[in-house]
């Protein structure tokens, strides 16, 4: 099993203890990879992880939603391995944070089994989960980066100027070097593939969903005009947003950004009131789930190659949606990518949320209103108090390139193919 899994754990914070948790998260931020509370670097199957507080909020009907703590991780299957590792963090570990959350086992009752039960009980399913490349594990990413570095160092070390040599000759020398390196012997084999049962499940889903739609087609054809009519009524009556993010909010968010090649993004928003928007967003997220599983599952999300993971999680009895992603570059470049490349996709999902720039026919306009969209993003973004990346010096493009280097290492090539392979270096 080598597919990635989205873990989301949401727990209510005890009344009056939100600040305590925030203080703890602040302490963790000083050294996210190796801190006393959750030492992320020891969790070897985790790609990315984050902890953040959802502040108290008043919903569209005036009801209070109390604050909660969100733990999110993108990790390699099986999920149980991560949950077990978390549950076995004793002493300074998990308890330090979760003792501020409701229903956490009392002081004397904190056993491995009880912690595990607690975590499982608070897991929430993601409605859609984008994975840059399905099946590329943390270990593979680290190893392939190490492989590339070794080849680069070899090239630098052995000869400054390779001009005049044939591509096949250079390649043969690289291969000879790799054969002599015991620590890189794993590179002789291809990376492991997702397991049989996973592939089977995905294939069934790939075929099953269109089949189901085909069966439902007569009904859908009847519903479609009605749905379009309702959509237009809603779109025309929705007010255009006019909210600017305030300076202090921008500053708090910006201070958590741009420390390296990658960034995190977390946002939360209300689904517009009424059953129509709620059903529409759930339907669109089903479609998004299908798209990310079967179409956009290798290095490219409709033209964007800078996103490692992204997820949508519907919470609070279908009142709110969390969006969380890990991407390369700055927020500005991320938003520009969205607007320039996948405005249609964002519109389809987010236009069902309160405060989104006005859309037409679900996918038109919306994010194309550049500054209104950027304001919407900042207004709904929330601070990711703790964020961990297992490979913070690698962009998604770097990772994809490393995988290509490894994939072409030992197969037979002619001169032209060897030239092409050497361009990866």
């Amino acid at each position: 099993m080598t597919q990635q899994v989205a873990l989301t754990i949401i727990t209510k914070i005890k009344p009056g203890e939100t600040e305590d948790i925030k203080q703890l998260l602040k302490t963790m931020r000083k050294n996210v990879a190796q801190n006393d509370i959750i030492s992320f670097s020891k969790l070897s199957t985790v790609h990315f992880a984050r902890l953040m507080v959802l502040e108290a909020s008043v919903d569209l009907n005036g009801a209070l939603i109390s604050p909660s703590l969100v733990f999110i991780a993108e990790c390699d299957a099986p999920l149980d391995r991560l949950l077990n590792a978390l549950a076995s963090m004793t002493g300074e570990g998990l308890d330090t944070i979760y003792c501020h959350c409701e229903d956490y086992p009392a002081d004397d009752a904190r056993t491995h089994a009880r912690r595990l039960t607690y975590l499982r009980a608070h897991m929430v399913k993601a409605q859609a989960f984008y994975v840059n490349t399905v099946g590329r594990m943390v270990q593979q990413i680290h190893q392939e980066a190490q492989l590339r570095n070794a080849i680069q160092d070899f090239l630098d070390r052995s000869q400054q100027d390779w001009s005049g040599h044939a591509a096949l000759e250079v390649r043969t020398k690289i291969q000879a070097f790799l054969r002599s390196e015991q620590t890189l012997s794993w590179a002789h084999n291809p990376p492991s593939q997702p397991g049989f049962f996973f592939k089977m499940k995905e294939t069934l889903h790939l075929v099953g969903v269109p089949l189901l739609l085909l069966v439902l087609l007569p009904v859908l054809i009847l519903i479609l005009p009605l749905w379009l009519l309702l959509l237009r009524i809603h779109e025309l009556s929705d007010a255009a947003p006019d909210v600017k993010p305030d300076e202090a909010h921008i500053e708090e968010l910006a201070n958590l950004e741009d420390f390296g090649a990658q960034n995190q993004f977390s946002a939360i928003g209300y689904i517009k009131s009424g059953w129509f928007r709620r059903l529409t967003v759930l339907g669109i997220l089903l479609a998004a789930d299908y798209g990310t599983r079967h179409i956009f599952n290798k290095e490219n999300l409709a033209g964007i190659k800078t996103i490692h993971f992204a997820r949508w999680v519907v919470i609070d009895g279908q009142r709110r949606v969390i969006f969380a992603s890990n991407y390369d570059g700055s927020l500005e470049s991320y938003m520009d990518d969205f607007i320039d490349k996948v405005a249609w996709g964002l519109n389809a999902v987010f236009s069902n949320g309160v405060g989104y720039p006005k859309t037409n026919w679900l996918i038109l306009d919306g994010a194309k209103d550049e500054q209104a969209f950027k304001d919407y993003i900042r207004v709904h973004q929330i601070p990711t108090q703790v964020w961990y990346s297992a490979y913070d010096c690698l962009t998604a493009l770097n990772i994809a390139n490393n995988a290509k280097i490894r994939a072409g290492l030992f197969n037979t090539m002619n001169e032209a193919e060897a030239e092409q392979w050497l361009r990866l270096l």
């Binding site: 630098d156 390779w162 040599h165 000759e169 500053e251 570059g329 770097n398």
Partner: protein, 472 residues
Amino acid sequence: MADTLDLQDIQGLIIRGYGNLRAACYLLLEINSPAAAKLWLSALANAITSGQAKPEEKAVNVAFTYTGIKKLGLEPALATMFSNEFITGMATPHRSLLLGDVEESSPMQWSWGGPDTKPIDMVLILFAVNDTKLADIYKGYTNEFTTNGLLEILKLETVDLGDKEHFGFHDGISQPMIEDLSQAKTSPMDRIKAGEFLLGYPNEYGLYTDRPVLKPALDPKGLLPRARGGSGNVDFGRNGSYLVFRQLRQDVRSFWQFLDEATKNPDGSSNPATRLKLASQVVGRWPSGAPLLQTPDQDDPRLADANNFAYYQTDPYGCNCPIGAHVRRANPRDSLDPEPGSAQSIAIGKRHRILRRGREYGPPIDQAELLSIKKTIAEDQERGLHFLCLNANISRQFEFVQHTWVNNPHFNGLYDDADPIIGTHSSDGSTFTIQAQPVRKRLTSLPRFVSVVGGAYFFMPGIKAIHYLAGL
């Protein structure tokens, strides 16, 4: 409805670089007495050079920081309609990370614009045909500052190196052109909507960038232009532009000495031809300006101003002009995703252009001792570039170009290659990869050749808006 450029209201520096006016200086000013300063400003507004006609003798332009605009009394509710970058300024801790202003470039060390230096409220920019004329103009202004409630914090001088910059390369060749002003010879790639450089006009998205727009009641004298779009409001931002000003110190000696070491013959002697080629690969153009894309093996002065080219068709892998070369990342043309070489790639690039208006400062280096005498940057005389650029959206234009293209070690699929000449080469980004057949060459551990010693974000208003400010 087509909207023509209001050249009489636009400050001249936005329209042209005043290449014929070889002398220039920048006066950084603090406003001590807003009342007195406003009287002075209302007289100055009549003397400001507009974009209407090319001046033959001299030119005067002016721009304000956010603190300056607030001191002059623009209503807080209106002032907050400026962009967040302008309001919070260039020297916030987050912005320093974003722009690579760390270590020796940290605002803590700046000689102006930093947290420990005097606040800058405005910059008065003077141009003249020669130094004598400039000195006259300068004298006329500087004598009047104190009585007009102004304090001259710093006078930044410039030097005329012809069309070269201090490292020895022809600079300023590629410039975007406001669509309405473009000529037949302007490459389509360089024709950019006015709204990318001027507020109050449609930008490359066909939209108006946010700016202070006022209820007419706040402009009882009717000084300001009407806002486009039929709202009935008046537009404080129209015909104005954001001016990014950064003083960049160049370590010319270390640049050439590093390249000399990197290209030495096996016997330890220098190899001038290889050195020059490597330097040109770093820049992406030869010293004459000829693009490596078109002439990869030797300089060709006939191509000195060549600019009508794209990269992907001729050189998709960077074998002529390295992917990470300075000019190929500051303006990637058609190099980038989603589909290099496509019209979409060019269209996306058009949303990240800046109008450059910089000038050099400090004495040129003595060529005879360039390679022979070792000096640290502290021991050497200071020289560099007063980098000035104009744009309507600092975040999407200047900051994006600086962060996502120029100073990004991962630019266009690279791993550890910040801009080889102006990038931050600290813990990462210090490699320069030169794509080649059969396999790349690379330089590692590049030192930093350019550091920031001062900077600020200004707003260069339309002339009517200056009258409005003066009348507050």
